[in-house]
Amino acid sequence: MFGYIFPEKPELKIKEYELFRAYYCGICKSIANRYGQIPRLTLNYDSTFLAILLSSISEVENDLKMERCIVHPSRKRGVIKNSDIIDYASDINIILAYYKLKDDWRDEKSIKSGAAALFLESAFKKIKRKYAEKCEIISHRLRELEKLEKECCNSMDRAAEPFARLMEEIMYYPETCKDEKQSDILKWMGYNIGRWIYIIDAYNDLEDDIRKKTYNPFIYQFNYANSDVDSFRERIREKVEFNLVYTLNQLAKTYELLEIKRNKGILENIIYMGMLKKTEQILNARSCKKIEKSI
């Protein structure tokens, strides 16, 4: 369900791109330092976005250092160090990856996912102790989602709600939000981000879900009834597009209320261009060609 949030690279300034990577590398190293090498493999771009967004309103200046790493041994690169926000984003990255793997294991009996989840077990336990309340809320939201899936929920709004609420919780990091206003803004951004991810993922997975007979909200909302998959995708596209772009628009408007201190260029690139690009790519993809996801 992850890896949809990415900047529109050609429109980034080079210094912005370098900074984006410094956050990405910061998260990667933070995971490696605290939990070892294997959890590092779960790293994705969504958590990079989370770190960039949270630190954009933080009072604390970035601690940027040039370092080498085993993935890119040839040259030193910028890495953001000693940041609570980076640590938080890495923890969230592991929590979500862990639940995702567990979910795949349960639904599809994927041995690969089951084994990978075992490798994350110890890291996850440590994090669970640190953010007991957050983990409880996240797993509660995922249980809600599971319940809706079992009921074959026929509304994309309703089906997207648990994941949207989950992202809302993730965006709320009390250490950076000095006042209630800022955290309200972040939460509503989180809601819309989660909603967008859920809906875009549902559209992207539509063909797979039909083939494997797994739950997908669109099958029930728009009465799939064994028609041709391509023409079904075509039929619902306009409606899905409206919902996705509307959600992005809400995200953008809510973002404009935030008092940004840094990272403005990257954030606006992602919110106004990267996410729109992803939306259009997935809506217009031929059914045989799945859009590549990061992980």
Binding site: E8, K9, P10, E11, I14, Y17, E18, R21, H72, P73, S74, R75, S155, M156, D157, R158, E161, A164, K181, D184, I185, W188, Y191, N192, R195, K239, F242, N243, V245, Y246, T247, L248, N249, Q250, A252, K253, T254, E256, L257, E268, N269, Y272, M273, L276, K277, E280
Partner: protein, 204 residues
Amino acid sequence: MKNPYEVLGVRENASEEEIKKAYRELVKKYHPDQYRDNPLSGLAEEKLREINEAYDYLMKNQSGGNRSGSWGQSRESYGSRNNNEFYSQVRRNIQMGNISAAESMLNSTNDRSAEWYFLRGLVFQRRGWYDEAYSSIQTAVNMDPSNFEYRNALNQMNMSNAAYRQTAYGRGYSRNDDLCTLCQFLWCADCCCECTGGDLIGCC
């Protein structure tokens, strides 16, 4: 009061023209109409107030010129021509951001008039359920096509997507993939080189 230049996003010695231009853009951006469907509309109003204050301050101190009234202050309230006390209460709840109260009021009645559908649509909007919001408002319009308020709300939902896209295009976003394919090719080539220890594009 915050630094008025910062609020308007202009440099400290900006000309009157520049200030006016920045001001106009910001008012457009934070206008209450833009935030009707957003639960944080109160914050947008606050932001607009700040912008108006900053502008007033700069205008007063720059040229001594005075300006007649700030923009975007007048907010047409929902339900000004509504006689039904019940629905006025629902509207008040929505306006005050008390969404769950508005929702349970709507659920408590058996009335399924156009207004009921319209208000339910507004509640859905604020909850982030845009799909249901759209169909609910659409139903209201179908039931009472002559009602300006319902039609206006529906139009605004339709138009907001175009506005978002406009902003993206204004920032240089392009759907045209020619250039993009080229960039992707270069990027792939760069990544391949990096994997093997070399580098095609030095900067990334």
